[in-house]
Symmetry: C2
Subunit: 802 residues, 2 copies
């Protein structure tokens, strides 16, 4: 049934209505058959704005062709070739409750005690989210540790064997083959089963929390692929971390638990049905993302701030407190389980997947004279981060054009794995940096050509999981690395990490960034110590930390949350001030050149992402210029046939319809009475909630809120609902289902004002009315996301169907 529908709707545009059957947010056209709001039909005050990237027909045809293939295959196509486009494909979440009669009746029936039960359920769900996220993190950690340990032991034994008798190329072959085959599996499951599990998942979660629906992003299947994928990527020796994916994993867990059912498993546990709407679900997903950050870095406060920074449109004390609860439970679970696993139960020394180790403020304190140096490191981090992002941008464009078939993606991932192993091997082979084994914390000391009792220092960096390498760079005593080793490692790892990000594997960019930064930071510290002849600034570990912060800040450009995450990961509050300065500098410098990595990828996907504020210079635009017009309205008592026709209109595919007073005699658009959603209409049609025209006095069949909740979030497409010719002539009374008090703005409202209302309340539709409360237009997410502050002032993005 769904397939039939899909084919029909594909004909018009690429949209994935598998998630909920809703289609394009585009505001409806009055006649329902117009050319679509996309592209040309908009009036604009053209004065000073650029209109870039008009939708060409060629692109559109290409899309339609591509769409005949299977779903996962479409992924490369999601990325258009021009970042100055806004895709119409993405849906909005609806953070605004539709307060129709049914909803109000239910709310009024619920007494105070019942509300308390609901509140307790919320806390229970948050606790479960925390526990499960912590357990998933444990699982990943333990499996990675064992598999990677196994791999490194096998390769080490092999190397040790062949070092003595020659023929190290066999070792290289073994290492590269092992890596490539492990990565192949990881890449295959992602490319062929669930492409949305690729990458760190942070851009996707950012979008989700921002209010954009990304298909499949919070599915159980995605979680499974993500977890397996990240294990295989890390074990496969890629320059990746397992921290970013935890955020995505936490979000999926939260979505799953809070809804009390799983689509992938096709199970409905019939619990938590009250939470089956976007508002509640997004709150829980925030908690899940926070729990993920918390488990990844042992940073519960950082997790909360991450969720708020990315998601919260409206700060709510209780919600924040619950998010914090989930975060705390998550890190505590991880900590307890890992402590037990490591045999020293109850010492609670592993709060996160990565622990930076202890930064003792007595031994590694900083002085005020060092602050300018840290700021300089921030500048370096900003520049290197911008370079990383720029290179990755070109690489991504290349991938979009040429590597969009899953097979090619798998091959590329294998190639990167093999090259990574080879580079590591060659570097280790060529390095002559030998260090005594005693007193060092190296897990797999490779002796190679070093004297007995010594190990190859380059191998601590390359022949190890990246997490361990980071900690080694932070804490190994001065003199553990020679500058040449660090320099070469930085250079190589920089390019490897850059190449790796964007591969079709599950993997995060946090740890590689930290590793690059820690390497050059330590190098910087050594140089400084050398220049100042070993003054108080001797400890290179401190500089490694600042370098790591600078590099990570330069790449991802997060602000408050990243500072707090770094503070919590170091477990030292006094480092807060320099870390903040470094991150701030890196962000300012980096922003001067290019955007942050996540924002860049979001933009490349043409997601209608809403930033915190409207562009500063957009006061000259008003709602009149921003809105989509004309609007398809429904009458309060409407003919069923008309409703079906409007919903079936593939050229528009709208989601919200203003309801106006029934006045069939005049052509005049009458005063706004309410707003009804496509999903609600679908449910009404499905349950045949209408009466014959002749019997208007008859009472329509009553529906319950449960009928709507059961259909959430995958409302069937209109094509799956059969409406007979007789039924088409019936009438449907929308009064009790529509939201009688939709938010409105007058036409004179400025864009920043409209933006603020839309963003603060997490809206999906905002009706623009004139002085007589008559509908003149509709503002949706894409109308606001279209305006962006470019280099030459305000610019307007084109809308594309892709």
């Amino acid at each position: 049934m769904a397939n039939v529908a899909k084919k029909v709707s594909w004909s018009g545009r690429d949209r994935d209505d598998d998630e909920d059957g809703r289609a394009g947010e585009t505001t409806p056209l009055l006649n329902g058959t117009g050319p679509g709001a996309a592209g040309g039909a908009r009036q604009l005050t053209p004065s000073s704005f650029l209109r870039i990237g008009q939708l060409s027909n060629v692109d559109l045809n290409e899309d339609i062709h591509e769409l005949q293939t299977e779903l996962p295959r479409q992924r490369p196509n999601e990325i258009p070739h021009n970042e100055k486009l806004l895709s119409l494909k993405y849906e909005s979440l609806d953070y605004d409750n539709s307060e129709n009669q049914l909803f109000l009746e239910e709310e009024r029936r619920i007494n105070h005690a019942a509300f308390r039960t609901v509140e307790i359920k919320r806390w229970v769900i948050c606790a479960m989210i925390g526990i499960l996220t912590g357990l998933v993190a444990c699982f990943i950690d333990i499996v990675v540790e064992n598999l990677a340990g196994l791999k490194y032991r096998v390769v080490k034994d092999n190397i040790d064997k062949f070092t003595a008798k020659g023929g190290l190329s066999f070792s290289l072959l073994l290492w590269a083959t092992l890596n490539a085959s492990v990565v192949m599996v990881g890449s295959v499951i992602v490319a062929f089963i669930e492409p949305v599990a690729a990458g760190s998942g942070i851009p996707q979660i950012k979008c989700y929390l921002n209010g954009v629906k990304i298909p499949h992003v919070v599915r159980l299947k995605t979680l499974v692929i993500k977890v397996c994928g990240v294990i295989l990527s890390v074990v496969g020796g890629l320059a990746v971390g397992k921290e970013g994916p935890m955020i995505h994993s936490g979000a999926v867990i939260a979505a799953g638990i809070s809804q009390g059912r799983s689509t992938s498993l096709k199970r409905d546990f019939k619990i938590f049905e009250y939470f089956r709407r976007d508002t509640e679900k997004r709150d829980f997903v925030s908690a899940g993302a926070a729990a993920g950050v918390s488990a990844a870095f042992g940073a519960p406060v950082g997790g909360v701030l991450f969720s708020l920074e990315e998601g919260a449109s409206f700060w709510n004390q209780f919600l924040t407190w619950r998010i914090f609860f989930a975060s705390m439970i998550s890190t505590f679970t991880l900590n307890s389980v890992l402590s037990v696993y490591h045999g020293n139960a109850w010492d609670l020394s592993s709060p996160g997947l990565i622990n930076f180790g202890r930064f003792d403020s007595e031994k590694m304190g900083y002085t005020i004279q060092e602050i300018p140096i840290f700021i300089f490191m921030g500048v370096v981090g900003g520049i290197l981060g911008a370079l990383f992002n720029a290179l990755n941008y070109w690489l991504t464009m290349f991938r979009i054009r040429y590597i969009h078939r899953p097979c090619l993606q798998v091959v590329e991932a294998m190639l990167v794995a093999a090259v990574t192993a080879t580079v590591g091997f060659v570097m280790i082979y060529c390095s002559r940096d030998c260090q005594p084994i005693q007193g060092s914390s190296v897990a797999y000391p490779l002796q190679l050509f070093c004297a007995d009792g010594e190990y190859n220092s380059m191998a601590t960096a390359f022949f190890n999981t990246p997490e361990k390498s980071v900690v080694n760079l932070f804490h190994d005593p001065p003199g553990s690395y020679n500058p040449m080793t660090l320099g070469m490692f930085t250079l190589m790892y920089f390019f490897l990490a850059c190449w790796t990000y964007g591969l079709t594997v599950s993997a995060g960019v946090f740890i590689p960034s930290l590793l690059i930064g820690a390497a050059w930071g330590r190098l910087f510290g050594i140089s400084l110590s050398y220049l100042t002849k070993g003054s108080i600034w001797a400890d290179p570990g401190k500089y490694a930390l600042m370098g790591a912060a600078a590099q990570l800040g330069g790449i991802v450009r997060m602000t408050l949350s990243l500072t707090v995450i770094m503070m919590e990961a170091t477990g030292n509050v006094t480092y807060g001030f320099p870390i903040m300065l470094v991150l701030m500098t890196a962000k300012i410098v980096g922003d001067y050149f290019v955007e942050g990595l996540y924002d860049m990828h979001i933009q490349l996907q043409s997601v209608p992402f809403l930033h915190w504020e409207a562009p500063v210079t957009s006061h000259s635009l008003t709602a009149r210029e921003v809105m989509s017009t004309p609007v398809t309205c429904l009458r309060r008592i409407e003919r069923v046939g008309t409703v079906v026709d409007i919903l079936s209109d593939t050229s528009s595919n709208h989601n919200g319809f203003p309801v106006v007073e029934s006045n069939p005699d005049t052509t005049q658009v009458a005063g706004l009475r309410g707003l009804i959603l496509r999903s609600q209409l679908i449910v009404l049609l499905k349950h045949k909630v209408f009466v014959e025209r002749a019997n208007l006095s008859l009472v329509q069949r009553r529906l319950k809120l449960k009928d709507f909740r059961d259909a959430y979030p995958r409302f069937p497409p209109i094509q799956s609902i059969h409406v007979s010719q007789d039924e088409r002539e019936c009438m449907i009374d929308l009064s009790e289902f529509m939201n009688p008090s939709p938010y409105t703005v007058p036409q004179e409202a400025s864009l920043p004002r409209v933006f603020k209302l839309f963003r603060a309340l997490g809206l999906r539709h905002l009706v623009v009315v004139d002085n007589r409360n008559e509908v003149v237009g509709m503002v949706t997410r894409k109308d606001l996301a279209r305006y962006r502050l470019g280099k030459e002032g305000l610019e307007e993005l084109s809308l594309a169907q892709t």
Copy 2:
């Protein structure tokens, strides 16, 4: 001039328009001469609601009588005798920009580069806020340390002298007299000069950030009195802390700097004029409050969270990042200056006014078995906190009734000071708990009747500033106190602290709460250790910390921010989980009995405080029932006389007027066109912006935004503006001054929906319109704050003029 005006307006109601000349928020009546929206005139769906505390005429007459006295004398009267009242006296801040033509023209003229300058100015202001707040904290700390040191040395010498030769009652007399006289000065300046500087200032700042204007709260004079007052209170040996007042101090500093002028000094530095509106000012005050928390506890992240928890209606990433910046600068400044002062420059070991000292996770780690014990401590803390609050509630009621004259207030403060000293002395005298001096960290060891080389242990708790006592309780080795000492100390200090809070002195309740909690927590730890025969749970310092958290949580009931403050103050991330659990338990248990201390005092002041969400069971109310009606509207082109009459109407005193289409012929209320504020009308009248009726085609005088900004925030009262009889007949065109796109809601919107819109956007006026966009009512803060969830369901507070 202002005096004349004041007299007139006092006749109707108690309002302090000294701050900005605006008056009651009450929505205007259509005829302007009605009986006032307060009390009787409201329609209500009475069905299931209680209407409690109808305003009696007796109360009103009493108020009017009282109001003839001088301003500071009125203070006791600010607290009505019934907490189920809502005062109409308090104004709202306006977080919504009035986007009239002038504003838009200015914004459109500003180009991108100019916006960047504005942004840079914001950062500079935040840095200045941080630095100044840090310096003020240093000043307080250093002065307190020296004065208190001096006092304790004098008293100690005296005691040592008289211990030998008998006659210790002289020492008691000296101690009590010293304390009482110092406190007298502190109390006099507060009671007679600036009563708003009393207490911790946290309730006032909470109200300000919530959007309620409290007169004088961010004045320079208040800051000076606050700083001197808190020094004198602490030196006077009261059971108070200097931390709470820092939050208030930071807020005043922020307000002062960001406005570039001082009313108290009557200086205008002509800088930062762009920031002269409520929106910007409140943002900076948030930063100041955060900087204050940060300086007080060395908790920059906690500071940010405090500001957000109390103030943010809409989370903005850039704003938060700036707040964090100010916080960091503040703690860093304090840290640097104090480090230099203490002689060990650059070691940066004093991040806050109180430092909990180092909690080493190795030595003082906790195990999972202890968690239920911590939760039990949370329960105890919740009960004790509720008891504290209940006692303080009765005491406050007593004070409202009988101790409302400044002289009496001063006498009470002196009495408390003398009693505190006496109790301390008697406790020390009676205690037989002697401890060896060696290895202990006691600042002023009192030998008294102990053997040589020993000191009286009770004296470490009483004969010391509370901050030092707290740290001693956390870190003194096991065995430093015997259980009897701790028990007696807890009991006495509990009552002393409870009596002290609410005195007319500047003082905080954080430290006394921590101290009480630390004492019983340590006692609890000792008992536990005794019961379990000294198992691993031996360290009583850990239990002192948890007890402190429990007690503080039980009293103030803060959530996320308090957890983070405690985490940062201990400098140990692993304690986060138990602290969170303890605080959560204490809050849940405490909330079962009474409200938090700050909320209680806010409620006793009848402030229209808006919580995060509307009461859960309020879906049955709609805007129609909540709004004030009828509304005084202005026509777009209005007669000057009408405007003057409306503004002069003392029985209403409204601040916002809907502007409707000019249609003088019909009596029908026409469609909404905009909203204009009292302050704007005042400026228009003052600048004589009107034309003769005969010459309507003439162009009105143009005003600039600067004219409005110069008048901010103290717009003159209408009575100070002379309008001649001829001028009364002129016409005034409001089109370019009114906000053409005020936010509106339909009558059907539910209370939670209205509440959400109002709160999320920080509104002051929300116009309720019907289906034809005609004005039917107005919702202001008091209309929403009136509904509260009581024990028996939704209850409605009465409105009072007091």
